[in-house]
Amino acid sequence: MKGVEFLANNAGRLKTAVGVCYPGSHAIFRGHDLHADLRDMDWVELYVFGITGRRFSKPQVRLLHAIWVYTSYPDARLWNNRVAALTTSARSSSNLGMAAAIAVSEATVYGGRAGLQSMQFLMRAKAALDAGAELRTHVQTELQERRIYGYGRPINSTDERIPWMMALVKELGFDQGPHLKLAFEVEKVLLPLYPKLRMNYAALHAALIADLGLSLREYQLLRVPTFMAGMVPCAVEAAEKPQGAMFPTPCSEVAYEGAGKRAWPA
């Protein structure tokens, strides 16, 4: 079925395989009765089940929790958190602030795009190695073709989250995952060439998720609430301060570097 016929066939109704609510009766979540079957599920477990349709073990869900907990930084200078704080400082709705901050978190130098590209790089590298390539050669080829995400960090190249996460990863027995081992091997290749390209949390996050068997698109969705817990205190504190207290900017703190004064054409 193509073209107009396809659209007509989908008009005026919802065709779905993932779920439906029957107000006054019950709700189906990926084939299960939400209340009868899934009511005791951990929220993160439900979230990843919603994304993938697959069930994850308790240690795997604990790992997902920890990945988010360890990167929840309530510092309103961070660009995404700043959006949340500015929103409530400007006396807008906290819901709007959180939604905007989450949207902003799909960024390139950190967050969503960086994580996605890092996972894609690790998957490409693993496929290349599985096909017989040598890691050093593969990394050098990648460096010539594109930026490698997951190594280096905008403000400080040392990532304090990694030792904490690795301690838990070992405790849970996930430290032998092929993508995780590969991520550290890549760091060994990069560091002699570029001392600032230490592995960052995006690579660790991406490697762990790849080892859980999630696809790139599943990882993109999984990442959505990653920074949320760190944003909330920023929004709360900004709301508690007087209006406009977050980052007020006097004229002198704007460095103008453009054209000089001129008259508007008649």
Binding site: L7, G12, K15, T16, A17, A103, E106, A255, G258, W264
Partner: protein
């Protein structure tokens, strides 16, 4: 307080002079050197300001007229459009005004009729110009080899994947806007539309006309993407407000076909 403290916002767009008694209050504001409130206000148009903000120079009269006309053409995608539908979902249930516009922006940002499609279409022009063969080849190779946060494109940018023939409104738009010229990309599109449509097997969409306009006005693909997002918001806002007045009982809550064991859609 120094002229350039350590933590400064750097900009080539906007300069503000403070009131003598308050560094946070504006005595004069200059956009790319033009005094906005002292000189432009009352003399320049909305389209002039838009063009100036993005391009850094005042537009010619012809350029401002073209941008103004594009803004009118894009102002309301109508309630059938997914981005406006999203805004109405905000309006109908009493969500905030900003939420309705954020909904319209998010849905209208994509590669099916949205701003990312404009970005893709503009990049065809920017990459191959008026080379017809290269244009068709580039438009046909819409799939990228690497995965990005954007979903893969599923059709040639600027064309309607479900279209049968070019819709009358698209033809009117192309005809009127190309007639405001000379604008080389619009003229080329008007002259080669039928050949492009025959080669790609799909009719031109409004997205494609908008992309040609935005390239003709000298905008980059990133600038065009931003403008397309902004210019489609008025209709989303108006329809969201209308639905908030009429209420959810008059808004569709579609029948559902739950088919857990079957594919819910076929590829177009």
């Amino acid at each position: 307080m120094t002229d350039k403290p350590k933590e400064s916002i750097h900009t080539r767009i906007w300069r503000e002079e403070p009131e003598p008694n308050n560094p946070f209050a504006t005595r004069a504001a200059y956009c790319h050197g033009y005094d906005v409130y002292g000189d432009m206000l009352g003399r320049a148009r909305w389209a002039d300001m838009l063009y100036l903000l993005f391009r850094g120079e005042a537009p010619s009269a012809a350029q401002a007229n073209l941008l103004d006309a594009l803004a009118l053409a894009l102002a309301n995608p109508g309630p059938r459009d997914a981005s406006v539908h999203a805004a109405m979902c905000g309006g109908v249930a009493g969500s905030t005004a900003a939420a309705s516009l954020m909904a319209a922006l998010s849905v209208g940002a994509g590669r099916y009729g949205g701003a990312r499609e404009v970005f893709d279409a503009m990049n065809i022009w920017i990459t191959v110009g008026h080379d017809l063969t290269a244009w068709i080849r580039h438009a046909s190779e819409w799939e990228s080899s690497t995965l990005d946060i954007w979903p893969q494109a599923e059709h040639p940018a600027g064309f309607d994947p479900y279209g049968v023939t070019t819709s009358t409104t698209v033809l009117q738009c192309l005809d009127k806007l190309a007639g405001m010229g000379p604008f080389p990309h619009l003229a080329w599109l008007a002259a080669n539309r039928q050949h492009l449509e025959a080669s790609l097997g799909l009719p031109l969409a409004l997205v494609g006309v908008a992309a040609a306009v935005l390239v003709d006005l000298g905008f980059s693909a990133q600038e065009g993407e931003m403008l397309y997002l902004m210019l489609r918001l008025p209709g989303a806002a108006a329809h969201a407000l209308e639905q908030s007045d009429s209420g959810f009982k008059h808004f569709p809550f579609y029948p559902v076909e739950w088919t857990p064991s079957q594919e819910c859609a076929e590829a177009p």
